[in-house]
Amino acid sequence: MASSTMAGAHDHPRGLRRFLFSTNHKDIGTLYIILGSIGGVIGFLLSLGMRLELAYPGVQIFPGLAELLQGADPSMALDAGKNLYNVFITVHGVLMIFFMAMPILIGGFGNWFVPIMIGAPDMAFPRLNNISFWLLVSSLVLAVISMFVEGAPGMKGFGGGWTFYPPLSSNTGSPGPAMDFVILALHLAGASSILGAINFITTIFNMRAPGMTLHKMPLFVWSILVTAFLLLLVLPVLAGCVTMLLTDRNFGTMFYDPAGGGDPLLFQHLLWFFGHPEVYIVILPGFGIISQIVSTFSKKPVFGYLGMAYAMVSIGVLGSIVWAHHMYTVGMSLNAQRYFTLATMVIAVPTGIKIFSWIATMWGGSISFRAPMVWAIGFIFVFTMGGITGVVLANASADKQFHEGYYVVAHFHYTLSLGAVFALYAGFYYWFPKMTGYMYSETLAKANFWLLFIGVNVVFFPQHFLGLGGMPRRYIDYPDAYALWNLVSSSGMIFVTLSLVVWFYAIIEAFMKKRLAGANPWGVGATTLEWTLSSPPPFHQFQVLPRITGASR
């Protein structure tokens, strides 16, 4: 009876109460992963619509979609379809960044494993954690509503790209309320991330178990720490940036309107001061996950641990001072372009250190090719592919040939759609047995990998050719010369779609078969604290704090 009173002393709600009012880091992490999966699936469906449209020259499916989704009048269907295509690209970008990658990598895996990896019972501010999550849900609702209210005159939704540049996003281009919904969605998502970042920083600085010094923390925790600092520094800038747009739109200010002495470029500078660190916010947790996995399955500690940790710190710092390389064609001065070229190229150095250190971790190891490791090796390769085209685009001179073209689309999808997503899948298959207690089918996990690996490479590699040939991005229709590679690119979506089906099936199969994973399914290489707990871990872990003595990387 004594033990049951002990358990009763800790709040252990069930059912709806458990998830709606949750203050438990593992439950909130699970909620984030579910939300991120929903966001990712919607984002994927949008991209499927875009690739189907682009498979052949001419406008095929979007007029029909506009009638179907937005109730457009058949006489206006062509224009509504063109607008809807732009809405799709916008919402695809917003969803994939704010409602897929960030929730799963930071909110999901971060919440689940940062406290466990540092030997803490929970996050520092459990209630803040809860509100972070529900703010993001509200934000997603607003973002989706924006697709169905008026944006440009007579059109529904905001279709100006996820960068929201005014005047297209101000009253000149989109007088309707769709953009206001997007701005408020960004406010809520930003507030959610800022609160989350505060929570992570406090947890990591104050709640490490005895002996867990900063230089003994697993690299995943380091990556979340750097990410949280970036979020805390740059999200207020985004908030200010879009708030000024909101007042321009509704209260007669002229921050971005040249007619009143404002400047549209101010918006671009502010947006990218947030936006460039944002891409590192998305990829850094991935770096952390890959480091854990490569080390686990090579059965070796991470090569050059300190170099790896501080490479992430320097990527964070450098990533914050290179924003205007997204703006090489706006007419910046020669010296500004020189600076941003050189500063951007420097990022290749710490990134190179990370790639080589992962390979050196594998070097001399005893590598077991379980599903997470296969995903991680895939990540290293596709991220390298995205990284090297990044070196090309860093050059303001070369960028003038590629800016706002498909080469750029290929580049950032290799780093994010392949890089971040592969890291996400690697983490998912790495921690799935820990989070659920069940082992998935290794075959299905690897089938998922190969289908997605082939799929995304068929989708995105030909886009380099399109970009070199001069095809602009965000086009619903293109000159016939680009037909071949667009068709090849679209055909890759068959594999991507199949890979998603396999992924769902792998999850369902794991829950149906209920193969118990045990505390540590990965063997001697898995040295971080989560593998010392049962699978799934108890509702409250570390009633007695663990004591870290040796190196526990």
């Binding site: 224009d79 064609t329 090297i388 070196v391 070369a398 001069g470 602009p472």
Partner: protein, 287 residues
């Protein structure tokens, strides 16, 4: 095969897979025509300006070989470690976690590679940004969704016109869908042309791939870029910044002709466009 058919909601990717080989051969059979995109093209278009040629050289001779080498090097390392250090071949892992000389090497070599890239990069950048003395200046204004051109009076111009997409129904043989326009903009060959780029409404971008030129058209700002076309011909460009529903439908056509023909055209165009289009005049005066 390329019929526009709005009813075909279900034209699936499966049909795409079947059609790939057929289209591929069709694509490679067609020859490259300067100034317009090459069907199934793999690389940069043929460049016709000094800046464009510089870009082409920089990409093909410097960037492309280096990034290909790095990609293959990393791929090779991954394949090698996967083969050599898998658990069957190497059951006992080493405990190697540090090698300072190695870490210094893989920091310094990338630095050297980047320094090597930056020299031609910065030289080309200066060439792009510093506009040489121009014999012809034209002002290009982006609108939703067409381009307006203005030729200054002191250079024999004094007129302006709009450049609109030729609708599909009006295409003549030799015209290109989505690229051909009603009024081509003429410039003399082998002369420095300065282009002032701005916008009347939202942001657009003036881009012609075979010139190596891409410049944003931003309301309230007058951006400047330049090109010197070294070969007579018709050169196609498009809008390179999302500007609303018809972003894909505002192409650019520049025709480079001899000085004599250019002068003739100026005289004709002055007549043709004199007071013809009040929208352009209003647009030009508002700036």
């Amino acid at each position: 095969m390329f019929n526009v058919n709005r009813q075909m909601l279900t034209r699936g990717a499966l049909a795409a897979a079947v059609a790939i080989p057929a289209t591929m051969f069709a694509g490679f059979a067609l020859a490259q025509v300067e100034g317009q995109p090459t069907p199934g093209g793999l690389g940069l278009p043929n460049m016709v300006t000094p800046v464009g040629l510089g870009t082409q050289q920089f990409y093909n001779m410097v960037l492309m070989p280096i990034i290909s080498f790095i990609a293959l090097f990393v791929l090779g390392l991954l394949v090698y470690v996967s083969y050599r250090f898998n658990e069957q071949k190497n059951p006992i892992p080493s405990k190697l976690t540090h090698n300072t000389p190695l870490e210094i090497v893989w920091t310094l070599i990338p630095v050297l590679i980047l320094l090597f890239i930056s020299v031609p990069s910065l030289r080309l950048l200066a060439e792009q940004v510093e506009v040489p003395e121009a014999s012809v200046t034209i002002k290009v204004t982006g609108n939703q969704w067409y381009w307006s051109y203005k030729y200054p009076e002191d250079q024999g111009g004094g007129f302006g016109f709009d450049q609109m997409l030729k609708p599909e129904s009006e295409l003549q043989p030799g015209d290109l869908r989505l690229l051909s326009v009603d009024n081509e903009a003429l410039v003399p060959v082998n002369e420095v042309i300065a282009v002032h780029v701005t916008s009347n409404d939202v942001i657009h971008a003036f881009g012609v791939p075979s010139f190596g030129v891409r410049m944003d058209a931003i309301p309230g700002r007058l951006n400047q870029t330049w090109f010197k076309i070294e070969k007579e011909g018709v050169y196609y460009g498009q809008c390179f910044f999302i500007c609303g529903k018809d972003h894909a439908y505002m192409p650019i056509v520049i025709r480079a002709v001899s000085r004599e023909k250019y002068n003739e055209w100026l005289a004709q165009a002055k007549q043709k466009f004199a007071g013809a289009d009040s929208r352009v005049r209003v647009a030009a005066e508002s700036h």
